[in-house]
Symmetry: C2
Subunit: 330 residues, 2 copies
């Protein structure tokens, strides 16, 4: 067993007031991990507060427990003084936003499955063999002796399901299925998780049509990209939450290797998502552009004029596509 | 262990030439079950031929083994004379099309998980506790001593994945996850299965936009329905295969209970698909209209003018919705 894992278990056994922190622009794995650890610690009788310095996408409120997650300002105003900070699914300090302020004063632990992790905690359990951080929280809760009920099992399973594209990506391996089996046997309900993605508004379908109209390809159809501008969101009465799965739609187009989606929700602030199918390492492209992620799914945020940013990112993507192609095929 | 299951194992142990038959309008579970049983029997040194009296949707050819499946005419012309007929995932004789001709001459077995099964084989192993017939074939192959390799494990897993909406429906229970874990541990690759749904043509997105334009609701948004006419398919350069997942898109709309999709691929021949979320029993509506299926997913085929059929089916759906609602809520 990993030494940092055992240290983290030891620290949490002693801790009384734990701040459980996720990352900015939180995804399903992050929200699941933060909630599962927080609820687990509360079940052990500890004071635990969940904090994410970002607005939680509306569809996660399908799980009422999501309301446990506090913004930085709320935690600050409450006067909560943690004796331990547990950071989940965040690869570097900037990813936890203003919650960085809590680091340094008390011991902290980072639990993460990203290869790009910078080991910024007092203790760091980082293991890329896991398809999701939620699986690591399952092990943490198990070692701490947390009793699972149907709700906790479902919330914990949500992170595994979302980070593996509902068991469809290459990271959906035997450990993923075996952990999912365990959580389902403890009462986890996959169909409750699938509702996160089954609450589409008709406007979302119209937004999708707009994105399809903007679609372009490069490198003989191997690179496909599209965008939604601030105007597109407004015109369709949508927010950026509504385009959460769109890069996956681009990735599902026949014959492509790399899909890129540009989303300008705040004017001049572009969220860029990268997804690949077989061999392109998206995390290298994302890191080059100041972001991070996994080989098959990564992202970054850039500021500037949408059309200029699209042009620049596509230029870099084409260069990196060619160089990665050469080394993969040789 | 079920007595018919053991009888079927005994018969197959003795059989030399087995015809493995699936149903008309085959879905992923049927194709997976037919291929897994056929390949399993071939691995045991038996002559086994797979037969389905219907065109296989193009995207299943992502698995090259799909070419093992013969049409009725091909089996007939080959002069193949089976000493046993194994029927998979078909609830009644009409569902196997012209292959009915082989019944009666030699002993047959029906393996199926549909509650609407009519027990039309010499032996009938029917068990609705399974989310997919593919899981029953996994047990059959196990009892017969079939050695799994990566290909067979992936093909067998495909049926479990497709019939549970890739582990998202209410039938994705502990047995489903535990069987999936077993198949993944034997080399099954979920990401190869997900490619069935990740080969979308841009035309398919345009067809989806057309369906969204046709969308209507009834009963305060609880019933949602839409259609694609022969003209819509032609205009978008698409075939009915391209709209395979569209009823699932309708089912994903916020707040609905029952989704209905009408597809007129051949002029005057309408395929109607029903999907529900929480309580509406689609199979009752489908059986009333001459079709069949499961509580949450069912279908039927009707002949006539598209607009007339839509009107009639929606009328029946609304009546049944009200009566089922009364009994569910009381």
């Amino acid at each position: 067993m990993n030494r940092d894992f055992l240290s983290i278990v030891g620290e949490l056994n002693l801790a009384k007031r734990v701040l459980v922190v996720g990352h900015i622009m939180p995804d399903g794995d992050d929200i699941s991990s933060v909630l599962s650890a927080t609820i687990g610690l509360q079940k052990l009788g500890k004071e635990a507060i969940a904090g994410i310095d970002w607005k939680i996408p509306w569809y996660f409120y399908e799980f009422e427990e999501t309301s446990l997650i506090k913004r930085y300002e709320e935690v600050k105003e409450s006067g909560f003084s943690p004796d331990f900070v547990l950071i989940l699914d965040a690869s570097s300090p900037d990813r936890i936003g203003k919650f960085q302020e809590f680091l340094g004063n008390v011991p902290s632990a980072v639990i993460d499955h990203h290869g790009t992790n910078t080991f910024f905690g007092t203790f760091n359990w980082v293991d890329t063999k896991f398809g999701s951080t939620a699986q690591m929280v399952l092990r943490l809760n198990g070692e701490l002796g947390v009793q699972y009920d149907e709700r906790l099992a479902t919330i914990n399973l949500m992170g595994i399901a979302t980070d593996t594209g509902f068991f469809r990506y290459t990271n959906a391996d035997e450990i993923v299925f075996s952990d999912a089996t365990k959580l389902v046997s403890m009462g986890g309900k996959p169909y409750l998780i699938s509702r996160l993605f089954e609450n589409k508004r008709i406007e979302q379908f119209k937004l999708l049509s707009t994105m399809i109209e903007h679609l372009r390809t490069e490198n003989d159809g191997k690179i496909v990209y599209s965008y939604l501008s601030k105007n597109d969101y407004e015109k369709n009465n949508c927010t950026e939450d509504d385009s959460g799965g769109f890069v996956g739609e681009l990735r599902s187009i026949q014959g492509i290797e790399l899909a890129i989606f540009f989303s300008e929700y705040e004017r001049g602030e572009i969220h860029v998502s990268f997804r690949s199918r077989d061999w392109f390492d998206c995390s290298k492209l994302a890191v080059l552009l100041g972001g991070g992620g996994h080989p098959r799914a990564a992202g970054c945020t850039l500021r500037g004029e949408l059309s200029v940013i699209i042009e620049e990112v596509i230029r870099e993507a084409k260069i990196m596509y060619s160089s990665q192609y050469s080394s993969v095929k040789s």
